[in-house]
């Protein structure tokens, strides 16, 4: 049991009190508290967007909290940045790999100290001998002089852990360390974690996978909507069901849409054992007319990759797609759009969706310039009318249609993204994470918009990692795990039962 006595209060290495952090339009953390002791392996659980990564980044000095206290080894501290955190004994293994691909394994392990001594002579032999003990600790059986290029994902993961150890960390943060490695390698990782714990290192372990919590961790903290769902509990006093319910909670502020009878009379898009460059597992599904087909999965479960291949942005390898019963071999996005009337509202508005330095009008009209021109000459009036029409229809708030979209808020940028596909009169629309980074009010508007589109006969594939959004909008849900469609379920619209059903399917996969 977690019971505090004055004597063990001294071995609290990290103590966060009421940490809050907001980003434009999003309250990422709202009064989160956390205690981490020497020799403790604590799991940090939560859905996508619950605030886990933000919390890790605050501990690691990447972000600074807006409010709340950060105590390290008993003293309140203000970290100046990631290097400060590292010099105070906090080692971080981020979810994404952070390596210098042209350096050797040894250089990557000692990267922090190499970077620290800019004017000293870098002695390769010394680096190799200094890196070796840390590599031994994580069981990396390769030479320190080996290039990191060509290492397996798991080996790279171990290099990163060795690096975290090389700074003599007393606290190690692992952000989804098993996301990119195979199951037999997970066992090695667990051995390392136990070894570290026995040496008194405190470990904060972020994961989505419940079985790892039970196998590896001592205690568990669950976040939901940027808040603690309750006090930290000992792993042996809880079980899968309790944790799932804690992670999901109840839908508290979404007005549910009424259940509807979609038109759904015939399939408009069918994929049959479809394989592409970046989605190596055969995927089979069909999308019915006027349906909202939800694709649920964790971030990185291969949904975007499949979508990109379907619209011809990535190369298809095997299998086939049919649009309205006709075989569709789509080689380019232009073809998907102009011939098959398939549009893709990208996940990353700023990088893939919008030409930020161009005006609202130009961003909306980009898909229809081809139609608006006669002998190469654009009909500027028609362009402006189209933009005006969708500004009114979607309620895009901008001082002028000539305003550059870079100056609009996230929600309005998203509406511009959607508007350009509506303008192109798409019949099939793939919408990827439509409300990430968007405030609650606008989120509601975008949900209504998606529903209205479907009602009007547009067939929609909705990619979302937001459980509420999924249950609220989808007619039918496909579950993606590591690039494969593992299940299909009709959506009852009842949040509690649906979310638990989906979560179970994910955590046992």
């Amino acid at each position: 049991m977690i019971h505090e006595t004055p004597s063990d209060r001294t071995d609290i290495l990290l103590e966060l009190g009421n940490i809050s952090k907001s980003f434009p339009g999003v309250q990422a953390l709202d009064g989160v508290s956390l205690k981490l002791r020497a020799g403790e392996v604590q799991a940090l659980l939560g859905e996508n967007g619950a605030g886990k990564s933000t919390l890790i980044k605050i501990v690691a000095g990447v972000y600074h909290q807006d409010e709340g206290t950060y105590k390290l080894y008993g003293d309140e501290v203000t970290l100046s940045g990631p290097r400060d955190a590292s010099s105070r004994g906090i080692g971080v293994v981020h979810q994404e790999r952070n390596m210098v691909p042209t350096f050797t394994v040894g250089e990557n392990v000692l990267l922090n100290s190499i970077v620290g001594r800019s004017l000293q002579h870098v002695d390769r032999r010394r680096i190799n001998s200094e890196a070796q003990p840390y590599m031994d600790m994580v069981g990396l059986g390769i030479a320190p002089s080996h290039d990191v290029e060509g290492l397996s994902p798991a080996q790279k993961q171990l290099v990163e852990i060795a690096r975290a150890l090389a700074t003599n960390s007393r606290i190690v943060l692992l952000d989804e360390p098993t996301a990119s490695i195979a199951s037999h390698e997970v066992a090695i990782l667990q051995g390392i974690i136990r070894h570290l714990r026995d040496q008194g290192v405190a470990i904060l372990y972020v994961t989505h996978k419940l079985e790892e919590v039970f196998e590896t961790c001592d205690t568990v903290t669950v976040l939901r909507d940027g808040r603690n769902t309750g006090p930290k509990v000992a792993v042996r006093t809880t079980d899968t069901d309790k944790l799932v319910i804690q992670m999901i909670g109840r839908s508290q502020f979404d007005r549910p849409f009424r259940q509807r009878d979609a038109i759904r009379d015939k399939p408009v898009l069918e994929a049959d054992r479809f394989v592409s460059e970046f989605s190596p597992f055969p995927c089979t599904f069909s999308l019915l007319r006027g349906e909202i087909l939800g694709w649920y999965g964790l971030v990185g479960s291969g949904r975007t990759e499949l979508a990109r291949a379907i619209i011809g942005a990535d190369v298809a390898r095997e299998g086939s797609t049919h649009v309205n019963g006709e075989v569709a071999r789509i080689h380019s996005v232009a073809e998907a759009l102009h011939h098959w009337r398939i549009g893709y509202v990208s996940e990353n508005r700023q990088e893939d969706g919008l030409v930020l330095i161009h005006s609202v009008t130009r961003n909306i009209a980009i898909t229809i310039w081809r139609r608006l021109q006669r002998l190469g000459l654009l009909d500027g009036k028609a362009e402006l009318q189209t933009a005006k029409h969708y500004q009114d229809a979607l309620g895009i708030r901008t001082p002028s249609l000539r305003q550059e979209v870079v100056h609009l808020s996230g929600g309005n940028q998203q509406k511009v993204s959607v508007a350009k596909w509506l303008a192109s009169k798409c019949e099939i629309l793939i919408i990827d994470e439509p409300t990430v980074g968007i405030d609650v009010g606008t989120r509601d508007e975008i949900h209504s918009l998606v529903r209205e589109l479907a009602e009007s006969g547009v067939s929609i594939i909705l990619i979302s990692s937001d459980m509420r959004e999924m249950v609220r909008l989808a007619d039918r849900i496909l579950i993606f795990v590591r690039g494969q469609i593992v299940d299909e379920m009709p959506n009852s619209g009842d949040y509690t039962s649906m979310s638990q059903q989906i979560m179970r399917r994910l955590v046992v996969a």
């Binding site: 339009g25 232009a334 990088e351 930020l356 161009h358 980009i366 000459l377 708030r397 100056h407």
Partner: protein, 355 residues
């Protein structure tokens, strides 16, 4: 909504001069050119003489075209290091056709323009097919074009061009060199192309964000080839105008174009990152560079200092560009703060969970 209005209001609160200077586009270049002209006319009376203005007009006619040739590829998010080399090759081709093969000037000019387009298409196709950066590709083709040029001519100019061709260079309309009108015609056509045609818009969208443009169905590869062909065409035009003006086809044409081809559009506000161009800006940028070299002559400073002052101007233009970017980022941050204020307020009212 009010948040957006506020931010736009803030921008308006800046001083009028500051705002004009920082607005994206050629304003700062125009002011610099005016200032420099006033200073030069005070410093030396000969600056405003009819002869000198004539000399200036000639210089701008081809330099502006060189600037346009780089401007279009910069706006498309690329660059072209082979503009000078295309110019050199086209020069000797036109000279060789007329002097060596006796081809009539009109046909020789058309041949030269086609050669320029061909060189540009080659650049475009290589960029599309090899998927290397435009810098590497055009550095290589520049060397190939220059090598062809010097290999075929052994560096010997064609001095005996037909009189009808040479008279083009001396052509005057109301005391203004006719070739300057040709350049102005190009400027109008380019402004129209990028403002009012589908392909022009697509090229700008590609330059602003090629991934977004591709996902919106813009034919990226075609745009790349078209814009490089256009760049080659403009470089060829500059070379032909210069040849007509000099009255001889020199293989060394274009050797000194690289610096000014970048400097003039950048001074004029064309974005190095792509997605935006200003035709008047590039023109004024070319004017400014011409004024600098012309002013140095009048102030009796060694012409070898031209490069030094051109460098200073580029740095100054780059500085204005940077301030412009920082200014825009600041506006953005304010915008975000306003945007943030809204949802938090609505959360407080509408959701029991946040109570």
């Amino acid at each position: 909504m009010s948040a957006e209005k506020n931010t736009v209001g803030n921008a308006k609160h800046q001083g009028a001069v500051g705002k004009t200077l920082l607005a994206r586009g050629p304003n700062s270049a125009i002011m610099a050119a005016l200032l420099l002209s006033v200073l030069l006319s005070i410093a030396t009376p000969r600056f405003l003489s009819i002869e000198n203005i004539h000399v200036l007009s000639y210089g701008i006619a081809d330099l502006a075209l060189v600037a346009f040739a780089q401007m279009v590829v910069l706006a498309a998010g690329g660059m072209n290091a082979s503009i000078g080399a295309i110019g050199g090759l086209v020069t000797v081709a036109v000279g060789g056709l007329m002097e060596g093969l006796g081809v009539p000037p009109v046909l020789a000019i058309i041949g030269g323009l086609l050669l320029g387009v061909g060189c540009g298409v080659l650049n475009g196709v290589l960029i599309v097919r090899m998927r290397l950066s435009p810098f590497i590709i055009t550095l290589a083709t520049a060397s190939i074009f220059t090598g062809l040029n010097l290999g075929l001519t052994s560096g010997q100019p064609y001095y005996h061009l037909p009189d009808s061709f040479r008279s083009l260079g001396a052509w005057n309309v109301a005391g203004v060199p006719g070739l300057l009108f040709v350049t102005l015609l190009y400027a109008v056509a380019l402004a129209f192309l990028f403002r009012s045609t589908g392909i022009g818009r697509q090229i700008l969208a590609m330059g602003g964000n090629s991934r977004a443009a591709e996902l919106a169905g813009v034919p990226i590869e075609r745009c790349l080839i078209v814009v490089n062909a256009l760049s080659g065409f403009l470089a060829a035009s500059a070379a032909i105008i210069l040849t007509a003006r000099i009255g001889a086809a020199q293989p060394s044409v274009g050797e000194d174009w690289l610096l000014s081809s970048f400097a003039a559009p950048i001074i004029g506000g064309t974005s190095l990152a792509g997605g935006y161009l200003s035709v008047p800006g590039a023109f004024v940028g070319a004017l400014l560079l011409t004024l600098v070299s012309n002013g140095l002559i009048h102030l009796q400073i060694d012409v070898f200092w031209t490069a030094f002052f051109s460098g200073l101007i580029i740095l100054a233009a780059g500085g204005v560009d940077r301030i412009r970017a920082l200014n825009s980022e600041r506006l953005d941050r304010e915008q975000r703060r306003h945007a943030l204020a809204r949802p938090v307020a609505s959360l407080g009212q509408g959701t029991p969970t946040k109570a």
